[in-house]
Amino acid sequence: MSDNDVMLSVEGLKTYFFTDKGIVPAVDDISFAVGAGKVLGIVGESGCGKSMTALSILRLIPTPPGRIVAGNILFAGKNLLDLSVKQMHSIRGNEISMIFQEPMTSLNPVYTVGKQVMEVLRLHQNLHKEAARAKAIEMFNLVGIPEAEKRIDTYPHQLSGGLRQRVMIAMALSCRPKLLIADEPTTALDVTVQAQILRLMKNLQDEIDSSIILITHDLGVIAEMCDDVLVMYTGRIMEQADVYSLFENPLHPYTKGLLQSIPNLHKDNESLYNIKGLVPNLLNLADGCKFHPRCEFVQDICIEKEPELFEVTKGHFVRCWKYMG
């Protein structure tokens, strides 16, 4: 990627949580770039740091106990970590916006959904009330909310999960952000509604021409939506590639294991592959490669020393000793 194609680049980001029990390295030295108009997927299991990466970009890490201890987050020529609180306010919801997993808890239950969408518009685009309302209705139509003029005056609890998520998307896109961060946007939804929301996000992305960071645990959603993928484990990137290389030729034993652990809908499955062991506790990480206690291909060096992220073929990186020299 040349420099002017890059929308956001994260360099050496470390986000640690300082707790009574010790330091939790939730995000540990990760670097990546999101191309303009591209969808970057971050996939991993609970506690791998995917959501913390997203919150770090928006500087929404609860402090204390969390803190970004190192790194740069470069967006439109600025390092987001150097900005003042006020400058950050004008970026959040405006140039970078976020969609959360649970639309019920991220919408305010005591205001109508219209009011909440209008708030964003009035704040960031200085629209007066009528103009904001007209624009909100336009956004509701865009995201496919039927009877937008009526629905705009309803409260979140009066809407179904799918409609609430559409409201969230309308709100997130109302200022035409350059970057949209979607954290498990469809996890709480039924499959038929999930398919609608994913299609909607894809269509709107083409229209608004924004970049997306899509965080999910669902490899199906990744395959369906993304251009590039990061596979995370214990706060680190284990594998990084474009979506086709990753699914056709997964390199890291963890990625392979994950792919083989999902049952196939269109085939009879004799027996499912198991990654042995448990998702580790971040307070108590193994030495060497963080995946070695669960890995089938473990060698002596894996236990002693942690591998670097290594470029195996162009654009395909993996953190595994198997592929290093």
């Binding site: 199906g220 395959a223 196939n264 269109h266 027996s271």
Partner: protein, 321 residues
């Protein structure tokens, strides 16, 4: 196990100003058999009544109408002794391994509780049995004196399974047992359930919204929509040749873990699941069905048998053989 014309209506009473009573037909006239030693899956989206049906079958809820038979005896008319026996033979595993274990009890007591309730064996033997069960589900016996919060989600689900197996049941209701778990842990639990079924000749009623998981684990599948059965059939047959349009669209909505298929021809259903308080007249699926015609809006399709398949649709998809 068999149920006949089972109905469960919940009455939702409006509070305060609104005193209108709404009836939610969570399970509406369902007849279904579960055969010995099989895994029958109940699939559907939220609010389709799959969990309610599971609870009716093990008598955690009493039906508004209809009967449930277990080995030919009607569970509604069982006497106290009969119910006790029934409860030993039928157990349930819940979705949320965090909510279904009492946080103030140690693992050993959690797994032993059913043995104590049913007064089986002496304390020492009970504890031996707990150790056996823990080995069986893959929890180290040293952890007997730990509390639930000291375990991860997957381990808790194993504890839930051990507890359900304590009384050597014949039928196990698994209500979304893997939906709260990470992928790598989900496959471990699925394989454990399969292994246990073989070992103890268990019968499973597996309730899930995840079609890929259902395809992996079940022998027969029952697809539900808004309190009704839309289709029943053997697993392979049903997934390869769905007869009801809803089954087909449910399948095509699942994102496939292979980017090569992302541009596949697929129909995405429009609209939301209708409210079970006022289900649409006629076929309940007609508001979302692209194939719906006049009759679908007026007449509710009956469940039709076709070989070992059943479906409820006026215009079933053509059967490709």
């Amino acid at each position: 196990m068999e149920c006949e014309n089972l109905k469960k209506y919940f009455v939702a009473t409006g509070k305060g100003m609104k005193s209108k009573k709404d009836v939610v037909r969570a399970v509406d006239d369902i007849s279904l058999e579960i055969y010995k030693n099989e895994t029958l899956a109940l699939v559907g989206e939220s609010g389709c009544g799959k969990s309610t049906l599971g609870r009716l079958i093990i008598k955690l809820l009493d039906p508004t109408e209809g009967e449930v038979y277990y080995k030919e005896s009607n569970i509604a008319t069982l006497n106290k002794e009969g119910i006790n026996k029934f409860r030993k033979q039928v157990q349930i595993i819940f979705q949320d391994p965090y909510a279904s274990l009492n946080p103030r009890m140690k693992v050993v007591d959690l797994i032993r509780e059913p043995l104590r309730t049913h007064n089986i064996a002496k304390k020492k033997e009970q504890i031996e049995k707990v150790a056996d069960l823990m080995n069986l589900v893959g929890i180290r016996t040293e952890y007997m004196t730990r509390y639930p919060h000291q375990f991860s989600g997957g381990q808790r689900q194993r504890i839930g399974i051990a507890r359900a197996l304590a009384l050597n049941p014949e039928l196990l209701i698994c209500d979304e047992p893997v939906s709260a778990l990470d992928v790598s842990i989900q496959s471990q639990i699925l394989n454990l359930l399969k292994k246990l079924q073989e070992k103890f000749n268990l019968t499973y009623l597996f309730i899930s919204h995840d079609l890929a998981v259902v395809r992996y684990i079940s022998d027969r599948v029952c697809v539900m929509f808004l309190g009704k059965i839309v289709e029943v059939g053997s697993c392979k047959d049903l997934f390869e040749h769905p007869l009801h349009p809803y089954t087909k669209f449910l399948m095509s909505a699942v994102p496939l873990p292979d980017p090569k298929f992302r541009d596949r021809d697929r129909v995405i259903l429009e609209g939301d699941i209708p409210s079970p308080i006022n289900p649409p007249p006629g076929c309940r699926f007609h508001t979302r069905c692209p194939y719906a015609r006049g009759i679908c809006q007026q007449e509710e399709p009956q469940l039709v048998e076709l070989g070992d398949r059943k479906y409820a649709c006026h215009f079933p998809l053509e059967r490709v053989i």
